[in-house]
């Protein structure tokens, strides 16, 4: 009884010490820009500051992108990723995606924003360039309706919100999955590649959306070219992103719009 009266009083006098979202330890000082996680955890984030591979954004040498014939079948201009997919990041993503710990959302969104800015400054070339690189619209890799219902959220969509906010570009929802593919994480490379073809298509309202994007463009120079940024959580072989890009490009061609695809993922394995 007494406890019931005193408990709120105690809570008022000694507010609970926040704990780090990632490691669960008590935080004395929050890290700058990431108040939810402790400094030790922030220091461990394996940012990809300077990608080694100019195509896929990998931080280490990349045999896939230099393989002959690969460039011809790649439908996006290049990919960049926020972090390297090390065991710690794997654990974070598992917590987020499979356990459903959505408290990670704002952290991941901020990471995506940071990654977008880094990407933009890299692709713009030297500072104060005449026409800095920027994106016209942001979209994301969709989940199948059944998986979306089961999980309750699409991590790529939430990540895309972070990137779109940083890019000050509209976030558009125009892709859809035509059929349920198996979980990517449980497949071999070859299976992934063959499984993905024709798994994605555009939603019926895509044409309207493209028209709107064109009409809202700030720069009037190249009238009929748009740049679209595609977001996903992890870049492994790049096949998912590639097929999504293909679907988008085809749709744009059909509408007489020339489009360029870029991709940005949270992690690069």
């Amino acid at each position: 009884m007494i406890e019931r009266i005193l408990a709120p009083l105690h809570a008022l006098l000694a507010p609970p010490i926040p704990t780090c979202l990632a490691c669960g330890k008590r935080m004395t000082k929050a890290a700058q820009g990431y108040p939810e996680i402790c400094r030790a955890c922030v220091a461990q984030i394996p940012w990809i500051i300077r990608p080694r591979c100019a195509v896929c954004g990998r931080s280490i040498g990349c045999p896939d992108c230099t393989r002959p014939g690969v460039a011809a079948s790649r439908h996006f201009a290049c990919n960049r990723s926020a972090v390297a997919y090390d065991p710690l990041m794997r654990e974070w993503l598992a917590q987020y995606k499979y356990r459903g710990r959505e408290a990670f959302t704002p952290i991941f969104q901020r990471m995506m924003g940071q990654a977008y800015k880094r990407m933009a400054s890299e692709l713009s070339g030297p500072p104060h360039a005449v026409s800095p690189w920027h994106i016209d619209a942001v979209t994301y890799v969709p989940l199948s309706p059944s998986r979306l219902r089961e999980r309750g959220f699409n991590q790529a969509e939430l990540l895309a919100i972070g990137a779109a906010a940083a890019a000050k570009a509209p976030l558009i929802d125009i892709l859809e999955r035509t059929r349920d593919t198996q979980k990517q994480s449980s497949k071999t490379r070859r299976e992934r590649l063959s499984d993905m073809k024709s798994a994605f298509q555009l939603q019926p309202h895509a044409a309207d959306v493209f028209q709107q994007i064109l009409s809202r463009r700030r720069t009037l120079s190249k009238k009929n070219e748009i740049k679209i940024l595609l977001i996903d959580d992890v870049y492994t072989t790049g096949s998912t992103l590639n097929y999504c890009s293909l679907a988008l490009l085809q749709a744009c061609t059909d509408l007489g719009i020339s489009a360029q695809m870029y991709s940005l993922t949270w992690a690069r394995s």
Binding site: R99, G100, R101, E102, A103, T105, L148, R149, E150, R151, G152, F153, N154, E157, I161, A164, A165, K168, A169, P170, L171, I172, D173, I174, H205, V209, Q212, I213, R216
Partner: protein
């Protein structure tokens, strides 16, 4: 998830209910003859579960609703929902806030579309059936769906071929309806028996169901619905809305029905379409509990037969006679253990009481499990004392649970308990345990696993209740309470009960028994305190006090192993290095902590006697027992060492009958209340033991089981 919600008028009045399979409900109500004078309104075909459950539980329906129109039902619903959730109900109702990206313009197309597409068109209530006109058009469409499902089921059976052949033709002659029902009843029975004593999220249920051979293809949703209509299971949303008491202000936040924690985190949810679907962060490791997640539980019905322990038959009364009666005989207990075990057994035999304590608690008439504390000193042989208790419960067909916060304790106890109860081998549950879904009458589990049980056990024994993570975690206490039947019994085991519990003991509010002596009948080693400078200072000057070195040498000379506890992990390594310089090299010194990857290996080596001196932190304060050992606690005045952990660490010494007089030394620059309290507690226990005559008796030959 989303769910059907309907309102039905029966002779006693209106009632709102939820349905996973509306056809089952219609069939059920028509067959149980409850349609009288009635109407059935379908309020929604796909309402977010949290709202649906809110309507079912909190809407006071009145007879004037007999004449309500669709519009009135709709606005009625909205009023109730906004009473429960306040303004948030709009957000829950349907995703209303599409994400707006800054650049003053284009909003996310998807969110708008989603809002239009999914929820609004279907939330206009319609009449399914009324006594005057029978099924309405929409009702007929609904029943048509029903018949499709029946036909579908039938096709499946025909397709199954031979084994169903006979029954199929029989069913044809009787008409399909009857056929479907018996099938469904069968599934419903299985559902109900599987869910008895369980509390599972739908996702957990799917795994559990398949583990027990109920296939995904079977019409298990209808089975669940039927079991629910029969009152054998409860269906609810996993997160409860903020409650409003009569005079009290409404509590600010929702809470998790599974783990009791406050659930703060609300996010947009694609499963139910709401913009603020709350989920529980506390029990996330056991699957995500959220507002729209279905929680399935066995319904608790006050059923005396399986509720309290059945009273012993006429002759059985003698079994309860205290010390020398037969039930104690086979366990080989020491006198101290014996007396405590019989006290606990007497507690088990007591009839369940209606809410002990003060009048206002009794007034609530809530039956809560009775509690009992078995306060046994370190090395008293707690495990042996619980054997007679488990045996008593199992013999009467009851269900018993031994839970402990620590997984290594579970793994250590399992073989010992299995050896004692060969007929009912314990089901061993912990994170990642292969027996996760096995059913059994004797369960050994980590406290987290209790979240999956609901009013299941007659006896719940919580071992090491003051250990991490159970201590100070209200979620685990809640889980433990939930797992016990309301008329069941709770027994806590501890050498160092938490302060509140000690106070309750002193007030006489908690039934308890103390086991003041170790099983070997020798007194507990009383710590001595020696004043030395702080360890940090000693390490910095690379100078270990002579007293410390001497006592280490004394221990190693008599062949004892030595625990050295320090309060900081970073001190371990430098202390190990320092000691290696002064201790002869044939003596192996190691250090370990929670950050050490080779911890398990080192602990094993220490147990095997290969390591003579182990330097560690409070992580090894309990559990590790070696026969001939001394204990040194450095910086015993450190804030991490409270009374309980000092007592536990001191309890590592003198565990075996062959070397009962271990040395325990507190080294510290200052006296603290914790050190004084620990020494006082140990002395008090020794005094009680001496007074009761438990010490120095000739029962040292009793081996531990």
């Amino acid at each position: 998830m989303r769910i059907h919600v309907y309102a039905i008028r029966r002779s006693e009045g209106w009632k709102v209910d939820i349905s996973l399979d509306i056809v089952t409900d219609l069939t059920w109500w028509s067959q149980t003859g409850e349609y009288n004078g009635s109407r059935v309104w379908l309020l929604s075909e796909q309402m977010p579960l949290s709202l649906a459950v809110g309507l079912r539980d909190l809407w006071m329906l009145e007879n004037r609703m007999d004449h309500w129109s669709a519009g009135e039902w709709q606005s009625g619903m909205k009023i109730v929902l906004s009473k429960i959730w306040g303004k948030a109900s709009e957000q829950l109702w349907v995703g209303k806030s599409p994400v707006v990206i800054e650049e003053g313009g284009l909003i996310e197309e998807g969110a708008k579309r989603r809002a239009n597409r999914e929820y609004i068109p279907s939330d206009i209530p319609y009449l399914l059936w009324s006594q005057a006109q029978g099924y309405t058009n929409k009702g007929l469409i609904m029943m048509k769906k029903a018949q499709d499902i029946v036909r579908h089921a039938e096709e499946q059976l025909t397709w199954n071929g031979d084994e169903w052949g006979g029954r199929e033709s029989e069913s044809r002659s009787k008409g399909t309806k009857k056929y479907e029902d018996t099938m469904q009843q069968e599934i419903a029975c299985r559902v109900a028996s599987l869910l008895k004593g369980r509390s599972l999220l739908l996702s957990e249920w799917m795994v559990y169901m398949e583990h027990h051979g109920l296939e995904k293809e079977s019409n298990w949703l209808a089975g669940i619905q039927l079991a629910y209509l029969n009152g054998r299971i409860d269906l609810t949303a996993s997160i409860a809305p903020p409650s409003r008491g009569g005079l009290r202000r409404r509590t600010a936040s929702s809470h998790c029905r599974r783990c009791g924690s406050v659930a703060m985190k609300a996010t947009r949810c694609a499963s139910c379409g709401s913009d603020a679907c709350t989920y529980c962060e506390a029990c996330l490791a056991m699957g995500r509990s959220r507002s729209c997640a279905l929680l399935l539980r066995g319904a608790h019905r006050a059923c005396p037969a399986d509720g309290a322990l059945a009273a012993p038959s006429s002759g059985g009364r003698q079994d309860l006679a205290p010390v020398d009666a037969d039930p104690m005989g086979r366990w080989g207990l020491s006198p101290a253990q014996r007396e405590a075990a019989s006290a606990a057994l007497r507690f088990l035999e007591e009839p369940p009481s209606v809410g002990g304590g003060s009048w206002w608690r009794r007034r609530k008439e809530r039956v809560t499990p009775a509690r009992f504390l078995l306060w046994a000193v370190t090395g008293a042989g707690k495990t042996e004392m619980i054997f007679p208790l488990l045996s008593a419960v199992l013999q009467r067909g009851g269900r018993a649970l031994v839970a402990t916060p620590r997984r290594d304790v579970v793994l250590e106890l399992a073989p010992r308990i299995a050896a004692v109860f060969p007929d009912t081998p314990p089901v061993v549950l912990y994170g990642g345990s292969p027996e996760r879904w096995t059913a059994g009458r004797l369960v050994l589990a980590t406290t987290h696993q209790l979240l999956r049980f609901h009013q299941s056990f007659d006896l719940v024994i919580i071992d090491e209740l003051d250990a991490f993570p159970y201590h100070n975690d209200p979620m685990l206490a809640f889980a433990a309470e939930q797992s016990c039947k309301p008329q069941g019994k709770f027994i806590y085991l501890s050498a160092t009960p938490p302060v509140q519990m000690q106070l309750a003991v002193r007030r006489g509010a908690l039934a308890h028994v103390k086991v003041p002596a170790r099983y070997h009948g020798h007194p507990l080693p009383v710590p001595t305190r020696i004043e030395i400078p702080p360890l940090q200072q000693c390490l910095r000057h690379a100078k270990l006090p002579v007293v410390l070195r001497k006592i280490i040498e004394k221990s190693t000379e008599r062949g004892a192993q030595l625990f050295i506890f320090v309060s900081r992990i970073h001190q371990i390594e430098s202390l190990v290095n320092r000691l290696r310089q002064v201790i002869p090299p044939h003596i192996r010194i190691e250090g370990t902590s929670s950050k050490d990857e080779r911890r398990a290996e080192k602990v094993l080596a220490f147990r095997a006697g290969e390591i003579q001196i182990l330097i560690t932190t409070t992580i090894l304060e309990r559990g590790v027992t070696v026969p001939r050992s001394d204990v040194i606690i450095l910086d015993a005045d450190g804030s991490l060492f409270d009374e309980a952990s000092l007592v536990q660490m001191a309890g590592r010494a003198g565990r075996s009958a062959s070397d009962p007089a271990g040395q325990v030394t507190f080294y510290s620059p200052e006296w603290t209340n914790a050190q004084r309290g620990a020494i006082r507690q140990i002395r008090r226990m020794n005094r009680i033991a001496r007074r009761k005559g438990y010490l120095h008796e000739l029962n040292t030959s009793r081996a531990r089981l």
